[in-house]
């Protein structure tokens, strides 16, 4: 009576196994503590997946994870950070087809999707190269009038809160890569209309030797998550990738509590947003006056 199916053959009536898109915090993939979810929609408005709708407590937990990871990440050699960024690029390249599918599901034309994935891989390689070079380029020995050896070096700010751009993959990598290249750890709020590439990018990071907590990816709504992140006293800097001046302004107001540095990136097209200054904008300059004999 029981019908034998030949091994390896797919049944036409098979139910596909859909993926649960979870968030990425501290090297793990939890759901939101709130238990809430939103629907990610395709270009025609049909639901394509459920995503976590994170709360301020998820933001709090992500900042704790980022803080815990920060000293270890900054303490790695710049060369090792470069290797790990390059590893992310390798893993992303290997999963190009999956990301092209995700981008296409979100409404990107197939040929553009392929170009965007390639550009994201190249962007990671670009910053992988800079990790052990920007110090030489941007540090300085300063002439002073007294008998001091005076020099300025760059140090990571610490924990950076990132409001991820609408551009779901290239924008995301263009924002996160320079932040972590310089030894920062990040809490990334994904609030755009295409969150699926970001949740899957968490899986790429998790399989790329990136220590847990260096990049934390939360999905949800900007009006719930941005204010607590911007006000959080354990966050040292903000990278706001939004063309909406009101969003940037309100976050900057929240950021005054501990005088966070705020960098605003209003780009909608991220093709050319690639520069070592993206790294240095998330660095603090430390200047040392060292007395010398005459």
């Amino acid at each position: 009576m029981s019908e034998q199916r030949p091994a390896g053959a797919a049944a036409a009536d098979r139910l596909p196994v859909l993926k649960t898109h979870k968030v990425y915090v501290g090297g793990r993939f939890p759901r939101s503590e709130s238990g809430r979810f939103d629907r990610a929609l395709g270009p025609d408005g049909t639901p394509i997946a459920n995503i976590c709708r994170c709360s301020r407590k998820d933001v709090r937990d992500a900042v704790t994870a980022a803080r815990a990871a920060q000293a270890g990440w900054a303490g790695r050699t710049a060369y090792n950070r470069g290797q790990i960024l390059y590893r992310i690029a390798e893993m992303l390249e290997g999963r190009s087809a999956q990301f092209e599918t995700l981008l296409a599901a979100g409404g990107t034309a197939p040929d553009e999707a392929a170009i965007e994935v390639q550009a994201a891989v190249d962007r990671l390689v670009h910053y992988a190269g800079w990790t052990d070079k920007f110090q030489q380029v941007f540090s300085s020995v300063n002439p002073v009038a007294t008998s001091h050896f005076n020099f300025s070096i760059l140090e990571p700010m610490g924990v950076i809160g990132v409001l991820a751009p609408e551009s779901p993959l290239l924008g995301l990598t263009s924002a996160v890569a320079p932040a972590i290249a310089g030894g920062n750890t990040t809490v990334v709020l994904v609030t755009g209309s295409q969150p699926l590439p970001a949740t899957t990018f968490g899986e790429v990071l998790n399989s790329s030797d990136v220590p847990g907590g260096v990049v934390n990816v939360l999905t949800g709504r900007s009006d719930e998550m941005l204010a607590p992140l911007a006000a959080h006293r354990d966050v040292d800097g903000l990278l706001l990738c939004s063309p909406d001046p009101d969003v940037a302004r309100s976050a900057e107001i929240e950021a005054v509590h501990n005088l966070k540095r705020v960098a605003v990136r209003p780009h909608e097209d991220w093709t050319d947003v690639q520069s070592p200054y993206e790294i240095t904008d998330l660095q603090e300059v430390k200047t040392t006056w060292h007395p010398i004999g005459s």
Partner: protein, 299 residues
């Protein structure tokens, strides 16, 4: 004061039942105003502790300064119950907190191992009390207790109690070394019958320390002792309680096991070094609505 002439009959402990009860109590949600009250109560119950080989007079004075003023911007906070130091530093602590109502507690009896002759332990207790200790935290001889020599352990506690004179005696069971909940219950009963004013889980030098199941077993021993004798014995979990969340869970457990009377620094203490700052962090968060950084809190 009773010695242990009468055999201690402790009921067997249902370890699975204890775990389940703890899990149920941990699921309580304490928020907003109730949370703030719990946080304030927690602060007033803390024995601010430093027990390091590297402790110096300066370190103890700094700890006392912290005890006197937990947060510069929040003057309406309660002060901690006590500072807890080694006997050699009791005098320094006593001078630093004089007149504030903060007690000075001292560990004694060859803390943390307790492996010294009894005369030396008693001398250490007397020296600590002489130097001004209001409370003495002793360790029991776990080796003798585990070997089944309950009479020795009971007499040891009674002798230390005598040496304490007016000082309060807290008896550290070092539950991490006792192995089973049954042994912890037996040690609790023994300590209370031998003159302990408080029973305390751990030295803080051994993991695991004050886990919830261990504390629940000890609280139930205190409850049974109270029902039998009418005597209220205090409880001090120490070691491993470093977050406000843990502390509130403990308070829930105390309230549910022993009742309102024990929600008082005279009968319940937290032995902790880093708990105070997390509680302060939560209080500031609760008042301001902004998540805080540990960098903003001293010590």
């Amino acid at each position: 004061m009773s010695t242990t002439a009468a055999p201690v009959e402790s009921p067997p402990i249902d370890a699975v039942g204890v775990e389940e009860r703890v899990a149920r109590l941990c699921s309580r949600s304490i928020k907003k105003e109730a949370k703030l009250q719990a946080l304030h109560l927690t602060l007033s119950m803390i024995d601010l502790t430093t027990l390091e080989g590297a402790d110096s007079e300066g370190k103890v004075r700094q700890l006392c300064a912290k005890a006197l003023q937990l947060h510069a911007a929040l003057p309406d906070l309660p002060h901690v119950a006590a500072v807890c130091v080694y006997p050699a530093l009791v005098g320094v602590a006593k001078r630093a907190v004089e007149g504030s109502g903060i007690h000075v507690a001292s560990v004694a009896t060859s803390f943390p191992a307790g492996q010294a002759p009894l005369e030396i332990k008693l001398l250490e207790v007397r020296k600590a009390v002489e130097a001004g200790a209001d409370e003495v935290d002793m360790v029991i001889s776990r080796g003798r207790f585990l070997a089944g020599d309950l009479a020795y352990t009971g007499d040891e506690i009674a002798s230390v109690k005598e040496a304490c004179a007016d000082a309060h005696l807290k008896v550290i069971l070092e539950t991490g070394e006792l192995g089973t909940l049954d042994a912890i219950r037996r040690a609790s009963d023994l300590a209370m019958r031998s003159g302990a004013d408080f029973i305390k889980t751990s030295t803080g030098k051994i993991k695991p320390a004050a886990t919830m199941p261990v504390v629940l077993v000890m609280l139930e021993a205190i409850r049974d002792h109270y029902l039998r004798t009418g005597e209220k014995i205090g409880m001090k979990p120490a070691g491993g309680i470093s977050t406000a969340k843990d502390a509130i869970r403990h308070l829930v457990m105390v309230r549910e096991t022993l009742g309102q009377d024990w929600l008082d620094p005279d009968l319940y203490r937290f032995g902790a070094s880093s708990l105070a700052n997390d509680v302060l962090r939560q209080i500031v968060k609760q008042r301001s609505g902004i998540y805080q950084s540990f960098d903003d809190f001293s010590l």
